[in-house]
């Protein structure tokens, strides 16, 4: 385990509130998803369809990107392309500057987080107003997001109340979650209307219309994208679907998997700027198509991961995520999907713990709405880490020694016999609470003391009788 990961895990496990906060939100999410799936026996065939739609798009990515671009331009949008996150940020900042923007509202976008857009806007001296309630909370707290659907999941209601009391103009009593939401509503109302530029992400890019689909439950995306003069979308190039009808099939999967609802309260298709006669809407509509490692993922055999629709179900069902939370992953994307993405996005050596810190229990794959074989992809990273020598020498030697023995049954039997004779020396009443070379085990749990030699030796004796 790298020191950096170890420190983050220790901090997470030592937090007196983190586990409570994680359990409150992911527990609700799991039970709501389970209820939604119980009412949708067609989930399995829907998931196959979702997988096939996304695979079809990835197989024909150039076709769909070019089609989308053509239709978006026809609707009056300006389409930009960015190879890297830094390029994408520069494009966004440049558009803001040309628009003379002083204030920018932003609707939550994980791509925006991935490419560091919040930081880039601040560097450019542009006021950034996060409008998603959770993003608003972590902006006040100065935290990175800890979940891809609930970025402020690590905050308890008490902590949120404290933040609002400090930062809100008119917080009121904040005695309930309702009161906190009300305070945020009052705080952000004028900001929506005063912004010069609104920035959103995209849940889907619809190739045959050039529209950008966003989903929210709060209504902040539409309030972010409608009043300002300029609307900028940043979207990964994998977000395409062939048509609105295909988007609908994907929405059935996305929303149930994320929150357990059947559709988000607000599902919006944004297509071009304000039209003749429209009473509201932006005058300029920009779409920044961002690669930032996606074509590399294609080349690296991670095409399956490009199906991901960012529902967060794998996080909610991950036993590791549920103990250590999102910040311990040290990256924009936590949980199983993050453990697959992060080594590709920021390098395997730095992120080598993420694919390893996983029990390969497979629940993430089971709940994935587009059937991404997450354990297989995580194993793939472990193979690369092994080949590239990132496993510590002690582990490599231990595996080599163990392999040497298990390929030689007689030696293995002798070594086992010795080990099994030594172990009872450390035991009390059948249990071992401290054992040399097994500190990782006995630090936290006891080990039953073996008795009577190996099964093979005992069986051999019995057969001889």
């Amino acid at each position: 385990m790298t020191a950096a990961f170890s420190a983050r895990v220790d901090a997470a496990l030592a937090s007196p509130t983190l586990k409570l906060a994680i359990d409150r939100t992911t527990g609700t999410a799991r039970s709501k998803r389970a209820a939604a799936m119980a009412a949708w026996p067609e989930f399995n065939i829907a998931r196959d369809l979702g997988r096939d739609i996304k695979d079809h798009v990835i197989e024909n990515l150039e076709h769909y990107l070019v089609t989308f671009e053509k239709n978006a331009i026809a609707s009056g949008a300006k389409v930009h392309w960015a190879e890297t996150g830094a390029q994408a940020c520069a494009i966004v900042v440049d558009i803001c500057r040309k628009a003379n923007a002083k204030s920018v509202t932003r609707a939550k976008s994980m791509l925006g987080e991935e490419i560091g857009l919040p930081h880039a806007l601040e560097e450019a001296g542009i006021e950034r107003v996060e409008t998603d309630l959770a993003e608003h909370i972590i902006q006040l707290a100065g935290d990175p997001p800890s979940h891809i659907v609930w970025p402020a999941l690590h905050k308890t209601r008490e902590q949120v109340a404290e933040l609002f009391r400090t930062h809100h103009r008119d917080p009121g009593a904040l005695a309930s979650v309702e009161a906190m939401v009300g305070s945020a509503r009052r705080q952000l109302r004028e900001k929506f209307m005063a912004a010069d530029v609104g920035i959103s992400g995209a849940n889907f890019l619809v190739a045959d219309t050039g529209a950008v689909c966003t989903v929210t439950n709060e209504g902040n995306a539409e309030l972010t994208t409608t009043p300002p003069r300029v609307h900028i979308v940043t979207a990964g190039i994998e977000k395409l679907v062939p048509s609105t009808a295909h988007a609908m099939a994907m929405l059935r999967l996305l929303v149930r998997s994320a929150t357990g609802a059947e559709l988000t309260q607000y599902t919006t298709f944004h297509c071009g700027p304000k039209q003749a006669g429209d009473l509201d809407g932006p005058e300029e509509f920009h779409i920044v198509l961002v690669d930032a490692g996606r074509t590399r993922m294609l080349a690296e055999g991670l095409a399956d991961m490009l199906r991901c629709i960012r529902c967060g179900a794998c996080l909610n069902h991950c036993v590791v995520y549920r103990q250590i939370g999102g910040h311990a992953y040290g990256a924009t994307y936590p949980g199983p999907m993050g453990a697959v993405l992060t080594p590709s996005l920021s390098g395997l050596e730095a992120a080598q713990d993420l694919p390893r810190a996983c029990t390969l229990n497979g629940q993430c794959q089971e709940v994935c709405p587009v059937a991404i074989p997450l354990p297989t992809l995580l194993r793939g990273w472990r193979e690369k880490a092994w080949q590239q020598g990132f496993e510590p020498a002690t582990v490599r030697w231990a595996v080599a020694l163990w392999r040497f023995l298990i390929l030689r049954p007689a030696l293995y039997a002798a070594a086992s016999a010795i080990g099994l004779r030594l172990m009872p020396l450390f035991s009390r009443n059948g249990w071992i609470s401290r054992l040399p070379l097994a500190g990782g085990w006995t630090a936290h749990r006891d080990m039953p003391s073996p008795t009577g030699g190996t099964f093979l030796a005992q069986y051999k004796r019995r057969m001889k009788k």
Binding site: L61, H63, T156, E218, E222, T226, T259, G260, T295, L298
Partner: protein, 220 residues
């Protein structure tokens, strides 16, 4: 075109030489995928589409209330009743739709601009979707987007004959209509679960959504 564009497209070609072109024309493949969607829908919309729409809206997760009146002329009365029942002032922002403007709003103060803190607005949806209980709005001079997002109470009329059974039926219809700047599918009142997963209404959009169904499917 930008060099980033050329480089990205080149990287895609280099990374995935195996396209699905062997599976026939791309359009035909996409259509075949669409055709599979019908089998993935939840068993729900069978029988009259208006009944299915109203049933769906009973789901507490959606957070809407409903009623049915015979004709659009009955809508102002429904609005008056709603305002009174909610203890609201008799004042509404009326979506500037010619059919709404033509109604008799006597007894209610009406205006046609939407304020940042609008108390209540009334609207007319382009249609609705029975599968999900969604209202459909297309932005236009008669249907500004913000009318569905700024008010605290949103009272919306939708005609039974404009209900589509499934999400895909709406998608098919959209393809024959002029593409608006915004398509808004509104499925209930605004909500958030961002604080400890607790559902709270009225996060940024309306905290209350009241849907007035006009007429019935059978009558048309």
């Amino acid at each position: 075109m930008s060099s980033a564009r050329a480089k990205i497209l080149q990287a895609i070609r280099a990374a995935s030489p195996a396209t699905s072109s062997g599976k026939g024309p791309i359009g035909a493949q996409a259509a075949a995928l669409s055709a599979r969607a019908a089998a993935t829908r939840p068993e729900r919309v069978s029988g009259p589409v208006d009944a299915a729409f109203l049933t769906r809206l009973q789901d507490p997760g959606i957070g809407a209330t409903t009623e049915r009146v015979a004709t659009l002329q009955d809508f102002p009365d429904a609005v008056r009743r709603y305002l009174a029942a909610q203890g609201l002032a008799a004042a509404v922002a009326v979506q500037p739709h010619p059919e709404l403007l033509a109604l008799d709003w006597s007894g209610v103060e009406t205006h046609h601009h939407i304020a940042t803190d609008e108390g209540a607005a009334v609207g007319l949806a382009l249609g609705g979707i029975a599968e999900t209980g969604s209202l459909v709005f297309h932005s236009s001079a008669a249907s500004p987007t913000l009318f569905a997002f700024l008010p605290l109470h949103h009272v919306v009329a939708v005609r039974a004959e404009t209900l589509w059974p499934w999400l895909e039926d709406y998608a098919t219809a959209l393809a024959t209509l002029p593409q608006p700047r915004n398509v808004n599918l509104v499925t209930g009142a605004s909500g958030t679960t961002d604080i400890e997963g607790t559902l709270v209404r009225g996060a940024h959009g309306p905290g209350w959504l009241h849907i007035v169904l006009i007429g019935s499917t059978n009558a048309t």
